[in-house]
Symmetry: C2
Subunit: 427 residues, 2 copies
């Protein structure tokens, strides 16, 4: 603490890639206004990066170090910013930082989704803070909002469009720009999708983020392993266009629900009604939608990626740590409960179904009868004939998924059905 009541807060950046250099630049640019408005002077005292090509590029050479133990034990360091990614090394460094009395900010969704519970325990036991706003939805401060703003909201539903790549692709398909493969290829050209897009299009990236959001929303321990997820690879242009005809937009939706005290977290493509707030989220932006008894519906939306948006969240976390001393409060807010998970066989959903069938009398009767046996009711239907083959598109009312999929198995086995029906949940 200085004589004028201000305080210098030493920061170390672990990793100096896009986000790290953006954080550095922002602190250089904003430190005076942050000091004026908070009484806290942020000062980057070390940058840990092994890449010699980065030394002195975007930050003075003397700040760079390749010795994690030295920088993590320097008494001038108050806040450690972990931006190296991966799980094991990052965990080790944060563990060491906590033990050395440092607070930690991370943007590492895999780390928090996989090892969050252990990190929260460690932080609590050692009286340290861990903040990770940048791990989900970039600049959109959804973790802060849920962690500190929703104590009496009665939250029971969190929907997330938290993967920009898939939302970019599905938006383009909705607008008729092309099928899945073409659109993915274009997204790759434009930098909206990576060369290996598996984590994005397969739903894994969204699953990690939903594990984090569910932890915070329900203050319970949810890890990546607790999330059931599927991606958008099987969604075709036909599916998206039929959904449009029925008044829906197809989105990759993360859904974290609290049902009778049990948590359910899933990521899957979903038909979103056009009048739903989430339906207006187009392109690569992210959105998190919160529902609760006391709040009705709240939605936050903004850029989910990019160096500067993510760095904005990191800087806010650093300032918040610097400005709040009761670590216990902030720590305990995170996730102290061990709520049960809802067994998959109790999940209920309405479905969109598309299938190729023979175009002859009696086909619909056979299909309807199988749905009926399994307690699945049809809400609406379109049938389009092409010579001897017809395409049948149905929307069901909600039913137990286990029964629904048994009905689909039965229908897939009918001789009049050409291939296994495509199914997509309806939100």
């Amino acid at each position: 603490m200085n004589e004028d009541g201000t305080r210098v807060v030493g920061v170390v950046l672990l990793g100096f890639g896009t986000i790290g250099s953006s954080v550095y630049r922002m602190i250089e640019k904003e430190w005076e206004s942050i000091l004026e408005s908070t009484g806290v002077e942020l000062r980057v005292v070390h940058i840990l990066d092994n890449d010699p090509a980065k030394v002195g590029v975007g930050a003075p050479a003397h700040l760079f170090s390749s010795d994690p133990h030295a920088v993590l034990s320097d008494p001038a360091v108050d806040v450690v910013v972990e931006l190296i990614g991966g799980v094991e090394t990052a965990f080790e460094f944060i563990d060491l930082a906590f033990r050395n009395g440092k607070d930690v900010v991370t943007a590492n969704k895999q780390l928090v989704a996989n090892r969050g519970a252990a990190l929260f325990d460690l932080a609590r036991d050692l009286g340290r803070q861990l903040r990770f706003e940048a791990s989900v939805a970039g600049a959109v401060p959804v973790i802060r909002v849920m962690r500190e703003g929703m104590f009496a909201a009665g939250l029971d539903t969190v929907y997330g469009i938290v993967n920009g790549t898939t939302n970019y692709i599905l938006t383009a398909m909705y607008e008729g720009a092309g099928g899945y493969s073409d659109t993915l290829a274009r997204a790759q050209e434009l930098g909206y999708a990576e060369a290996d897009p598996t984590a994005d299009v397969g739903g894994g990236d969204a699953a990690a983020k939903m594990a984090i959001l569910a932890s915070i929303a329900y203050r319970s321990r949810v890890t990546m392993a607790d999330v059931t997820y599927e991606g958008i690879e099987a969604v075709s242009l036909e599916d998206v266009q039929y959904a449009k005809d029925f008044g829906f937009v197809v989105k990759l939706v993360g859904a974290a629900r609290l049902i009778d005290g049990r948590v359910s977290v899933r990521v899957h493509p979903a038909l979103v009604p056009r009048e739903h707030l989430l339906a207006s989220i187009n392109g690569s932006i992210n959105a998190v939608y919160l529902q609760g008894d006391a709040i009705g519906e709240i939605m936050l939306t903004g850029p989910g990626a990019g160096g500067d948006p993510t760095a904005t969240a990191v800087v806010a976390d650093i300032v918040t740590i610097a400005g709040t001393e009761r670590a216990g409060f902030l720590q305990n807010c995170s996730c102290y409960r061990n709520l049960e998970f809802l067994p998959e066989n109790l999940a209920e959903s309405a479905f969109f179904i598309r299938m190729q069938v023979e175009d002859r009398a009696g086909v619909l009767a056979q299909i309807s009868s199988i749905f009926g046996e399994h307690g699945v009711s049809i809400e609406s239907m379109i049938q389009k004939g092409h010579s001897d083959e017809a395409e049948l598109v149905l929307i069901t009312y909600p039913s137990v998924e286990e029964s629904f999929f048994r009905a689909i198995d039965g229908i897939a086995g009918l001789s009049c059905v050409r291939s296994r029906p495509m199914t997509i949940r309806v939100l």
Copy 2:
């Protein structure tokens, strides 16, 4: 502080109307989960309300008091929740609370918009906290987000749809449900508009909220008196429908901008392009849209009014105060600067214009020539003739408003123009 590290925080509710009773109910319902997650036990120790009909209704009779001095000086009180409304008495009570060492939460937008600067000073000088999330946009935690999450965002634009009544009316008009008066009458029947709707439809309510948002966004002193505002009373069904034809939605928009270090805060009807995030905000919900160099676009949306949503924000503020001890940090975040305001004569806007003109040759030439003299360029135009009269609808490119209105004065004076043109800004 208790032996187990938890702490009892005594709360007094000043006022026990819709919000007050909702706050009480929430604390009764959630105190254990709040204690578990934060280590803080909220306990309502007094309710100040003069209305004898309220005593014992929704809260035990022994909590009620009609003696402000007694409840505000009780050592068992830590946080004072001001819900009585109005400016002078509320200010006095808060002043007294601060002097007695209490922190304060208020939902009172008129108080914060008019006397915020004095209250912030007082709080800072006395080392107390003042929180007022509920004063703007109900459950939507926009103040928390801007105050604590946007240090490096480079915010320069805050747009708000912060009045549910006007947005309900304009949405209904857009959907063709009727003209302004009919729709207002129906909104009154449904409880979306008050018997005296002046503060809502005249823009004053939104102006108070925008003063608060601008203060926080730019950490500068903006009061109600610094906001230029107009309402939606003059917006006709024809305007809304023509705007729709041009691809716009009409909204009452609050716009707080930072332009070359100067602040501009205005509230007025505006044509919002259909692809803008704000265009999807329909009915009585609120939205706040933030733009900045580092974040691109962020939008928060949710219910702007109602007992429970507002009470959610109040409870979060109480918990945050209870959980953070460095009052200076939070205080200083609010608004310490005295930025200049942008003079009105430097404002620039594009405009929508609708006017009745004689349907004869030469009329358009006269009008265009006046626009040209004042440096106003036309972007698009529709003309519709009805017998000898025509309706002319134009959209201009942005120009200096002062010149634009001089052009409108000139055009209004033309003999071929039947009445003063209707003008609405384009966002």
